[in-house]
């Protein structure tokens, strides 16, 4: 009852404070101008991760001053009042400090989440989406934890110093000169500058784009990709190499990218009937700048069909088989044989091994063949497994013999394997990335100090004379 009374009173007082009102006005204006400038600028669409990162950066670099003032002024600004008016009444000091914490965290985090939601929606609607729900959650959650840490440290200093100017000055010093301190502690990734630098990477979908399908006619080629591409790179005809079996190259005159269908149509070609082509996409990136996965950047054995007879389907016009790594979903003769294709459900990694879990029972000889796995850590750097052991009870394969760098995500792509029922693995569910380690480090690195700051505040305030 006492805590609720303190909490609601504090909440109302915060909502009526001019600091908060001023901040909301400044925040709304800044968001509006930033989003309109970033998203409505002429030219190609801005990656959504960059737009959201800009909003989140604001809370770490600019609005952090307001958050520091809100935290550092919480107790010290009222030090002459709280003794007479509140703490001489039936409430404990723990209730008082925890109500301060809760109300400030609620208000600041709510404002932060609303801003993130608005920026995220605008970025998704008007920008080039290069994020996934998980990366958005990790990015917004990480900065949210940093905001909570900022507030907690501010309240702690407010309790310790009992002087608002001192508390604000100490907090500003701590926050803006934090990098060397974090570096010294071996936790550079937690410093504000490091967080700002890493945000686009955190927000961006870590999966590289893949060439999943390729079909040919005598005058054009249609390449289908797994995700949205950067049109500037996708519409460069020079980025596609089309080779015949004898090494003859067929340059395309134009490349037209269809964002909706995720495909590129190369036209202006004169391709000989029945020729087996190898098509390679190079320097093509997704909207976030990730280049094509090395394992899935080319399609082999693309057969140029005979000219179609009007009213009939031309035989052999099915998509050519893309790179061996990624069997094409639409063209694979096996893909619809026995219901839904198996997929990689998850993967977890240690410094030396990777465990891959499949959705169903698999053919053991295939999944125990280490050549059927492409393991990347970090992105683009491949590692070869020495051994693979399958457990059919859990549908898991344990790949061993790696030496991964610490804290880097591990991505596994599986090819050429079939379920026990004979269904080939799908092209969209054949990979998984393990990056949880970094996320947990952020959660612990930012969350634990927040809790620590809270307990220090409570302990310090309990022994203070009023």
């Amino acid at each position: 009852m006492a805590w609720t009374a303190l909490f609601t009173t504090e909440l109302l007082a915060l909502c009526r404070s001019w600091v908060l009102r001023g901040w909301l006005i400044a925040l709304a204006l800044a968001e509006f101008f930033m989003l309109t400038r970033a998203l409505l600028a002429p030219g190609h669409a801005v990656p959504a991760s960059n737009v959201l990162a800009m909003t989140l950066d604001g809370f770490l670099l600019v609005w952090s001053i307001v958050i520091i003032v809100l935290g550092a002024g919480s107790v010290s600004l009222e030090s002459d009042v709280i003794s007479d008016s509140i703490l001489s009444r039936p409430c404990t000091r723990t209730q008082f400090i925890s109500a301060k914490f809760a109300s400030r965290v609620l208000v600041v985090v709510s404002i932060y989440l609303v801003c993130s939601l608005v920026a995220g929606f605008a970025a998704w609607r008007y920008g080039a989406n290069d994020m996934t729900p998980w990366t958005i959650a990790v990015g917004v959650g990480t900065v949210g934890l940093a905001v909570v840490l900022l507030l907690s440290l501010g309240i702690m200093l407010s309790v310790i110093f009992n002087n608002t100017v001192m508390a604000v000055a100490a907090m500003l010093l701590l926050w803006y000169v934090a990098s060397p301190v974090f570096g010294f502690l071996g936790a550079d990734y937690l410093s504000p500058t490091s967080l700002v630098a890493n945000l686009p990477r955190i927000l961006k979908d870590p999966d590289q784009p893949q060439l999943v399908d390729c079909s040919a006619s005598q005058s054009s080629l249609t390449l289908t990709f797994s995700k949205t591409l950067d049109p500037q790179t996708a519409e460069q005809p020079a980025n596609y190499v089309i080779e015949g079996p004898d090494g003859t190259r067929y340059p395309a005159a134009t490349a037209v990218y269809d964002k909706q269908k995720l495909n590129v149509v190369l036209s202006g070609l004169t391709l000989p009937e029945g020729t087996k082509l190898k098509v390679t996409a190079q320097n093509v990136t997704d909207v976030g700048g990730s280049s094509l996965s090395p394992a899935a950047s080319s399609a082999n054995d693309v057969i140029v069909p005979a000219a179609a007879v009007p009213g009939t389907n031309a035989p052999g016009t099915q998509a050519a088989k893309p790179a061996a790594a990624v069997p094409p979903a639409r063209s694979s003769p096996l893909s619809n044989k026995e219901g839904a294709p198996p997929r990689v459900v998850s993967c977890t990694a240690t410094a030396s091994s990777v465990k891959v879990t499949f959705s169903t029972d698999m053919i053991a000889t295939e999944v125990e063949n280490v050549q059927n796995y492409i393991v990347e850590s970090p992105q683009g750097r491949t590692h070869q497994a020495r051994a693979a052991t399958y457990s059919n009870a859990a549908h898991t394969v344990l790949l061993t013999g790696f030496t991964f760098a610490q804290d880097e995500p591990v991505k596994v792509t599986v090819k050429g394997v079939h379920s026990a029922a004979g269904t080939a693995i799908g092209s969209r569910g054949n990979s998984a990335t393990y990056a949880e380690l970094t996320t947990w480090k952020y959660v612990l690195g930012l969350g634990l100090p927040s809790l620590l700051a809270f307990f220090i505040s409570v302990a310090w305030f309990a022994r203070r004379d009023l």
Partner: protein, 303 residues
């Protein structure tokens, strides 16, 4: 059992200043107890120790049979506290502040709304009930403090210098209210004004430099106070004066002494003794150190 008991209650600030010095106090239910002492005697510190707002350096305080700590919310729920020159949240109004107090005391809306309305009317703050406290005069703030201290209908009232900064009418109103409340409640009221204490209290404790130099009924105080204090006017060198101070300090019957000024160019010391102050000059052995007792008198009395 006494409603309030302290045992060797001591407060030293930062190993520098002794604010409260080994106070043993016992207050029974129904007393109107006056804490009397000059400014800086330790009255407010003692009150804050009793409320758990400050932690004692040594000793203990028990209220309602429970030891007082900073988290003694249950003890404070039975106390009505009026601080000296109270400060309240400046943006709140009397209604919102008293409503908050009612919620802190665990009162339901049906209980607290009639209660706060009645108190605001009683302390004559009705026209200012919706005004921000920051616009209040000292008298209005004190009246709000009085209302706040009565919000929970407490068993014990602790009013610290309730007449400080009030005009004569406000002072009379406050003292009359204290006398009225004293009929039904236990009250501790601190003041440096003897007449205020005399008007409302039946028991009194005199604080001087953090020590309780007297505790008893008001009648006993009146009898003792004149007899125990003596003023010594010294005709001697500064070194001799310093020597006198050292000797007075070492005398067990002397509670304390202050330089209260000069008379005819000679320093005058007021000595507070435990018993009759008349024996102090002889105990200090003045002649043996060469100082001359120029004048000896009881404060306000004859030589």
């Amino acid at each position: 059992m006494a409603l309030l008991e302290t045992h060797n209650l001591t407060k030293i600030y930062g190993n520098k200043m002794i604010a409260v010095n080994g106070i043993n106090l016992s207050i029974e239910k129904g007393w109107v107890f006056g804490l009397l002492g000059p400014n800086g005697a330790g009255k407010t510190t003692l009150v804050k120790l009793l409320l758990g707002l400050q932690k004692p350096t040594a000793g203990t305080a028990h209220l309602f049979g429970k030891r007082v700590t900073p988290n003694s919310a249950d003890i404070r729920s039975r106390i009505g506290y009026l601080p000296t020159n109270p400060k309240f949240p400046p943006t709140m109004t009397p209604i919102t502040y008293l409503d908050l107090l009612g919620r802190l005391f665990g009162m339901s809306r049906e209980e607290r709304m009639p209660r706060l309305s009645g108190l605001i009317r009683a302390v004559d703050l009705l026209p200012a009930a919706a005004r921000a406290i920051k616009s209040f005069s000292t008298g209005m703030t004190t009246r709000l403090g009085i209302a706040a201290s009565l919000m929970n209908d407490p068993d014990l009232l602790i009013w610290d210098e309730p007449t400080a900064g009030l005009d004569p009418a406000g002072r009379k109103y406050t003292l009359d209210l204290l006398r009225e409340l004293g009929k039904t409640k236990t009250i501790i009221v601190s003041s440096h004004i003897l007449t205020d204490i005399d008007r409302v209290c039946d028991h009194v404790g005199i604080l001087h430099q953090g020590k309780m130099i007297f505790g008893g009924s008001v009648r006993e105080m009146k009898e003792t106070i004149g007899r125990n204090n003596v003023d010594l006017e010294i005709d001697g060198s500064p070194e001799q004066s310093d020597e006198l101070c050292r000797r007075l300090d070492s005398l067990p019957e002397v509670i304390g002494f202050d330089g209260i000024g000069t008379g005819r160019g000679h320093p005058i010391y007021r000595v507070h003794a435990r018993t009759d102050g008349g024996c102090v000059p002889a105990s200090a052995g003045g002649r043996s150190i060469g100082w001359l007792l120029s004048r000896f008198r009881r404060p306000g009395g004859a030589r």
